[in-house]
């Protein structure tokens, strides 16, 4: 009890001392205002700065609001005593006055007794900068962070000064680093001292963040120009030869190598564009394009003839050329330069790109740093690509692993495998409709999906597959029949629109390693799930009784039967296991793909490819196949990022060719097992 009292007492004391300091600051603030009322009322950029300094030095809480209102033209003063007030009004005739220090009401007055303060734009700029400073030194860390972010989004010259002042007062270690970083970005952009800029530039060597790269790219902005001779007084980035040079990411030029080109490199300036530049710079006469020429020809038709030629003869470019030159000779059309004359003109001029930034030393350093950054970006992109590849591989692996059992181990062609994946995904969806908590519903959904698809798989094995062992083509067709029936059934039950299978919150977002490399948590979860399954199946097949019996039955059912194994039961259970795993994969796939009745279709061919490429009858092979296909597809996409369809096409063609050389897959079974 006494303890509690002590706490309350001390809190009260603290509040009192706080209000005491506030009262002191408020008095100081009031003093500054009354001392400088003239400068505030008729502010100018020349005189206002000391006032702002004085206001800030009072450390008064409401000073920021005061500056904000001043800037927004919401600050008024009473004519009678020059006291500054905020106002409220309902009818624009009478105004309620509020004290600028503590906000107490000072009564209502008619409009003629007060006057609005309207600072000019220069003063408003200074006010804005000072406000930034207020925010940057705000006691609340979050306010400081937010204001820093907004500066970074739209940096201005006046921020630099405010930032440098605020950096001295910053106490939070984490924020200080960010302060320093943005201060350097602004230094690069606005500082007038080249040495400071170069120092800031050098400090960014190898940095990956997007804002740094953007500021460097902005610094290295170039503009194209043309002249008779290369000017001396500008910061030249590169000299351009039309049709023959390309541009490097850092702004320097490189020569295209005709035949050795891989086709990816393009010239920066085509010949036609170069001539257009000449025309724009008034260094060459305009060309006449075919459409304009046609207009002129049509305008000069007389009695079905142009010059000597009949109109009906003008059905080729050559004929039109000669008709046009006839017109030129007759003085009815303007002559234009021939291609050779144009080329001559182009070769007489020099084309170049110059940096907007005039200091060459700065651009040189910037280019060096940018090259450095680009190198490490490329390295990180490869790392990112590898992560993407792993994640795609684990998706393929997950989709194919059920098939690795039914097709790989049992040699049953189950074309309805994709529909089991779909069934699993829909089971997860139904569970989610009943159990609203996403985390719990996923935890329940996985075993439910397994049970549903396991049961369906066992049923299918009993009713259909059992009768078709050793007739693989018939199995293929029968399971395909089941596949279309199941697909349509799902469509009838759940409709054609996609159903959401929502991931729990903790799987949202991505693991961001740096500005280039990131991977979403769902993909990591799928990777983990894939590894888990892999280990589990390896364990079941190699270390358990069921696995032993499965292998025995698939290798030689009769011999297995004579050893007391019931092949029917084993086949049923193994097939059910494969289907059940497909069901769990369905839940995982449903988390990032749309759950529709065609979900399985998207994976069936890839899954078979995975198993075949990896090597049938071997879980390790499936892993190898999925890894190869996943990585390869990502690599193809890397070279042609806009076109995933093309990537898939090339992928399949590659697989077809691959099977030529390794018909039994990456990891082929040897010996007697291979003959089965």
């Amino acid at each position: 009890m006494r303890f509690l009292l002590t706490i309350i007492m001390s809190v009260m004391l603290a509040v009192m001392s706080l209000s005491a300091t506030t009262a002191q600051e408020a008095d100081a603030f009031r003093q500054v205002l009354s001392d400088n009322y003239k400068l505030i009322q008729r502010s100018s950029t020349k005189t206002v700065s000391p006032v702002l300094e004085a206001i800030q030095n009072t450390n008064f809480q409401g000073a920021a609001e005061f500056l904000d209102k001043w800037q927004e033209k919401e600050l008024w003063f009473r004519k009678s005593d020059n006291a500054f007030v905020y106002v409220e009004t309902d009818d624009k005739k009478t105004y309620r006055l509020l004290d600028v220090v503590d906000g107490t009401g000072l009564g209502e007055v008619p409009k003629k007794e007060i006057k609005q303060i309207k600072p000019n734009s220069g003063v408003r700029g200074l006010l804005a900068a000072r406000l930034v400073q207020f925010q940057l030194t705000d006691p609340d860390v979050e306010v400081r962070r937010k204001s820093l972010e907004s500066i970074n989004r739209d940096p201005k010259l006046e921020h630099l000064e405010a930032l440098r002042i605020a950096i001295e007062k910053e106490t939070d270690a984490g924020l200080l680093a960010e302060f320093a970083r943005i201060e350097r970005i602004l230094t690069i952009k606005f500082d007038e001292d080249p040495a400071a800029r170069i120092e800031a530039l050098n400090s960014f060597s190898g940095a990956l963040s997007i804002d740094v790269r953007a500021s460097l790219n902005l610094l290295l902005t170039t503009k194209l120009a043309v002249a008779k001779t290369l000017p001396e007084d500008i910061n030249i980035a590169r000299v351009i030869v039309p049709d023959q040079t390309g541009v490097n990411p850092d702004g320097s030029a490189f020569r295209l190598h005709g035949l050795l080109d891989m086709g990816g490199d393009q010239t920066e300036l085509t010949r036609d564009a170069a001539y257009d530049m000449l025309v724009k710079a008034n260094l060459a006469p305009a060309t006449i394009d075919p459409a304009a020429r046609k207009e002129i020809l049509i305008a000069n038709i007389e009695d079905g003839k142009i010059g000597k030629l009949n109109v009906s003869e003008l059905d080729s470019d050559e004929a039109r050329d000669s008709a046009y030159s006839d017109l030129v000779l007759l003085g009815k059309a303007e002559a234009f330069l021939t291609e050779d004359e144009q080329d001559q003109l182009i070769s007489e001029h020099i084309f170049y790109a110059s940096y907007v930034e005039t200091n060459q030393e700065v651009t040189d350093v910037a280019r060096e740093v940018l090259n450095d950054i680009n190198a490490s970006v490329t390295l990180n992109q490869f790392f990112d690509l590898a992560l993407d590849g792993i994640s795609l591989a684990s998706i393929y692996f997950l989709a194919a692993i059920g098939l690795a059992i039914t097709f790989g181990v049992m040699r049953v062609i189950n074309m309805a495998h994709g529909e089991f994946i779909m069934m699993g995904a829909y089971s997860g969806y139904v569970v989610q409709q009943i159990v609203p908590n996403y985390t719990i519903s996923i935890i329940i959904g996985i075993p439910v999906a397994f049970m549903v698809t396991f049961a369906a798989g066992v049923l299918m094995e009993r009713l259909v597959i059992r009768h078709l062992y050793n007739r693989p083509l018939e199995t293929l067709l029968a399971t395909f029949g089941i596949s279309i029936a199941l697909q349509q059934l799902a469509k009838n039950i759940f409709g054609t629109q996609a159903r959401p299978l929502t991931a729990p919150d903790w799987l949202d977002g991505a693991w961001v390693i740096n500005d280039v490399v990131s991977i979403s948590w769902i993909r990591i979860a799928i990777f983990v799930l894939g590894i888990l399954f892999f280990c589990m199946i390896l364990f079941v097949l190699n270390k358990t009784r069921l696995g032993l019996e499965t292998r025995a039955v698939t290798q030689n059912p009769r011999m297995a039967a004579s050893m007391g194994i019931d092949p029917d039961k084993i086949n049923m259970l193994t097939f059910g296991l494969g289907c059940g795993i497909a069901g769990i994969a369905g839940v995982a796939i449903g988390l990032f793909a749309k759950v529709t009745s065609e979900l399985g279709n998207d994976y069936i061919v890839q899954s078979f490819m995975t198993v075949v490429v990896g090597g049938v009858g071997n879980i390790w092979g499936t892993l190898a196949g999925a890894t190869m296909i996943g990585f390869l597809q990502k690599i193809i996409e890397y070279f042609n990022p806009s076109n995933t369809l093309a990537a898939q096409t090339y992928m399949i063609i590659f697989i077809i060719i691959f099977i030529q050389f390794r018909p039994r897959g990456l990891i082929a079974l040897k010996g007697r097992a291979a003959e089965a």
Binding site: K294, L297, I298, I301, V311, S312, L314, D315, S316, D317, R320, I413, V464, H467, L468, P472, L473, E474, L476, L477, A478, F480, G481, I482, S483, I484, A485, L486, Q487, Q488, L489, K491, N492, N601, V605, F608, M609, V612, N643, L645, A646, Q648, T649, I652, I653, I655, I656, I657, I659, Q660, F661, P663
Partner: protein, 390 residues
């Protein structure tokens, strides 16, 4: 001399004559009942449906030859079918657009230069995919004869290359099926791209309008195509029968039953398989080239792997290893399918639920397909045989 061989062949296999006779009676019957040349009982759209069905039957014969007789379950023959359609579609589209452009420019002041003409046609055709340049694969599209050759050559060469690669490395059985399915998928995905040069997922359209025959009514055109379909089916049936009844046919069937044994007997198994694969691919392509002008539109979805599997379904239901079985299967299933999905069967109300056949037809088809595989491995044709014996 050749006539004598043919006569002897026909006498030895009266079923061919029966088939041709039935086909002729059917063709004449439809013609008499049609709107174009007859009393108008059979509508033009039905004539088109029947013509298309005959083309599907022709594709089914090809499928039966390669699967039922040679044991290669190809899941890619509908891709060849589609390719044939694309090849003829390119010419149809080019020629018709050319006529339209020429007509639009007839009143222009200056005649078009070849470049302007090609640009104008390009804009018309490729405007939907944001292009106007003619891709290289359209190089021959202005010539009917060359494009007709391509109908045979493109699928033929594709089948030759793919088959050579696959058979050479002894890919057999289900592996081959999956590989052909992958080929089909790759082709469909390729065609789905806008920069494939074949208008991406828009496909080729307006193929039912023959260039230069705008004045002729569709009733007449549909009949011409119907006759063409029937003729092609008849000719290919005879060719297929000639192949399967010859010594070559015996080897092919032997390969189906035991490939290794035939190889050990000294036959070049790969050569025989390649021959069957290519010739059936060409048959399928010809069927497609007659089918798509009747359908009017072709797009990459037509080539999707599922279509090839349906082809296998028809043959399986009709009866493998039996040419008329394939024809029966294709006609029976595709007509039944358009019957069910066309809303001609009244929905059944169960009180608490109404069975709508549009929704349930595929379920029914899938299940009946399972039943056919399980209990009637010889299909409907097999039932005919049983009936004959009894």
């Amino acid at each position: 001399m050749q006539d004598a061989v043919l006569t002897k062949f026909l006498l030895r296999h009266p079923s061919v004559l029966v088939f041709l006779g039935m086909l002729a009676v059917f063709t004449i019957g439809v013609t008499v009942l049609s709107e174009g040349f007859g009393i108008g009982v059979v509508s033009t759209s039905l004539v088109k449906t029947l013509g298309k069905t005959l083309c599907l039957a022709l594709a089914a014969i090809a499928m039966d030859l390669v699967w039922g007789y040679c044991g290669i379950l190809s899941l890619g023959h509908f891709a060849f079918f589609g390719l044939g359609g694309y090849m003829i579609g390119m010419w149809l589209m080019y020629a018709r657009t050319e006529l339209i452009v020429l007509k639009a420019n007839a009143a222009a002041a200056l005649p078009l230069t070849p470049q302007e003409l090609s640009d104008a046609i390009g804009v018309q055709i490729f405007g939907v995919v944001g292009g106007s340049e003619f891709p290289a694969i359209w190089a021959f599209s202005d010539s009917f004869i060359l494009q007709l050759l391509l109908v045979v050559l493109v699928p033929g060469i594709l089948a030759l290359v793919f088959g050579w690669l696959a058979f050479r490395s002894r890919v057999t059985g289900v592996y081959l099926s999956i590989l052909t399915q992958a080929m089909t998928l790759a082709l469909a995905l390729y065609l789905f791209q806008n920069d494939s040069g074949l208008r991406g997922n828009n496909g080729l359209s307006g193929l039912q309008n023959l260039p230069g025959l705008e004045e002729t009514s569709q009733a007449d055109v549909s009949l011409w195509f119907f006759w063409g379909s029937a003729f092609a089916l008849g000719v290919c049936y005879v060719i297929a029968k000639l192949i399967v009844e010859s010594k070559l046919g015996n080897v092919i069937r032997a390969i189906r039953d035991d490939e290794s044994r035939v190889r050990f007997l000294g036959y070049n198994v790969e050569g025989y398989k390649l021959f069957v694969f290519v010739i059936t691919a060409i048959m399928a392509a010809i069927a497609g080239a007659i089918y798509y002008p009747q359908a009017g539109i072709i797009n990459p979805a037509e080539l999707a792997p599922i279509a090839s599997i349906y082809l296998a379904v028809w043959v399986a239901i009709g009866g493998r290893g039996c040419l008329y079985g394939a024809v029966i299967g294709a006609i029976f299933v595709s007509l039944l399918s358009s019957f069910f999905t066309g809303g001609q069967i009244p929905n059944i109300s169960l009180g608490f639920y109404t069975i709508q056949w549009v929704d349930w037809w595929l379920v029914l088809l899938g299940l009946s397909f399972v039943l056919a595989t399980l209990y009637a491995p010889k299909g409907l044709g097999g039932l005919v045989d049983k009936f004959k014996k009894a």
